[in-house]
Symmetry: C2
C-alpha cells in the first residue's frame, strides 16, 4: 500500500515514460501503440508495464495530471479575478488547450466517463462549478444550466474545435448562448 522507495533508475524511467505518454497521447489519443510510447521514452515495453498495470492506467495517469492543471488554473481565477471575467477567461482557455490535446478530448468526451469517473478530475469539476455559480450570481450567465451542462458544453466545443480547428466564430456561438437572454 505504501511506496517501497523506488530505485534511482526506476524513478528516472517512470518519469520518461510519463513524459513520452503525455506527448504521444496528446498527439494521437489512446490509439497510439504502447510500443511507440516505450520507444519514445527510450525504454522497453516491459518497463512501461513495471510502472503502470496497463496502457489504460497510463492514459489515466496522464489525463489526471492534466485535469489537476486545469483545476489549478480555475482555482487561481477564483481567488483573484472578478466572477464575470474569470468565467469568460477560463472557458475559452480550457477549450483551446484541451482541443489541442487528443487525450483530453477523448477522456472528457468519453460518454459518462462511467466506470472510474467517481474521483478522477473531481477537483476540476468542483472548481468549474464554482466559476459557473459565481458568474450566474453576477447575472452574467444564464441560470438554467448546471455544472454538468457546462461540462457537456465543453465536450461539444472540443468536438467543434477538432472538426474545424481555430474556428473562433463557432465557439463564440457557444459562449453567446450562455449569456443571459
Amino acid at each position: 500500500m505504501s511506496k517501497p522507495v523506488l530505485r534511482a533508475d526506476a524513478r528516472r524511467n517512470r518519469a520518461r515514460v510519463l513524459a513520452a505518454a503525455e506527448e504521444a497521447f496528446a498527439a494521437d489519443g489512446l490509439a497510439v501503440p504502447l510500443d511507440d510510447i516505450a520507444r519514445l521514452a527510450g525504454v522497453g515495453a516491459g518497463t512501461v508495464y513495471r510502472h503502470f498495470p496497463s496502457k489504460e492506467a497510463l492514459f489515466q495517469a496522464v489525463v489526471v495530471e492534466r485535469l489537476e492543471q486545469y483545476a489549478d488554473e480555475a482555482q487561481e481565477l477564483i481567488d483573484s479575478a472578478a466572477p464575470a471575467s474569470a468565467f469568460y477567461d477560463y472557458l475559452p482557455r480550457v477549450i483551446e488547450q484541451a482541443a489541442r490535446n487528443r487525450a483530453m478530448c477523448e477522456a472528457l468526451g468519453a460518454a459518462g466517463g462511467s466506470t472510474y469517473k467517481a474521483e478522477t478530475g473531481e477537483r476540476f469539476r468542483v472548481n468549474l462549478g464554482a466559476l459557473l455559480e459565481r458568474a450566474q450570481s453576477a447575472g452574467i450567465v444564464r441560470s438554467d444550466i448546471d455544472t454538468d451542462d457546462l461540462r457537456a458544453l465543453i465536450v461539444g466545443a472540443l468536438a467543434v474545435e477538432r472538426y474545424a480547428p481555430g474556428n473562433q466564430r463557432v465557439v463564440q456561438v457557444l459562449l453567446d448562448g450562455l449569456r443571459v437572454g
Copy 2:
C-alpha cells in the same frame, strides 16, 4: 461500369447486408466487427465482400443513404415552410436523429472528412446552407456564420448529445447562441 444484372439471391442478400449494416453501425459505429454484420444479415463474410469492396465502403454506403434522407427532409422544409420555423424545426430534428445513430456521429464528426468528402453528402450540405441563408435573410439567425460553421455546430451538438443524452438545456444553449444578438 454498368450493372451486369444481379441474380435474384444476390439482390436479396445485398439488401440484407445493407439493412444489417445500417442497424449495426447505428448501434456501435465503425467499431462493429464485420462478422457481426454478416451474421446479423444471415450471410457469410465472403458475401459481404462480394457486394462491397471493404468494410469502409459498406459504412460509406450506409452513411450516404442517411445523408440523402436528411437532405430530403431539408428540401421539404425549404419547399413548404417559412424560413424561421423551417430552420428551427430542422436543426433539432437532425441533431436528435443523428445523435441516436453512432454511424452518423462518427461520419459527420470525422475531422474534415478529408479524403472522400468531396461529393458525399453534398446535397445535405447545400440544403443546410439554403435553410441557413433563408433564416439569416429573415433576420432570425445571426449573419456572421456560414454553412461550414453550422455544420461544425451540429458536430458539437452531436458530441453533447452523446455525452449527456436527452439533455435539452445544452442543445438549447447552442440554438440560443445562433439567434441574432
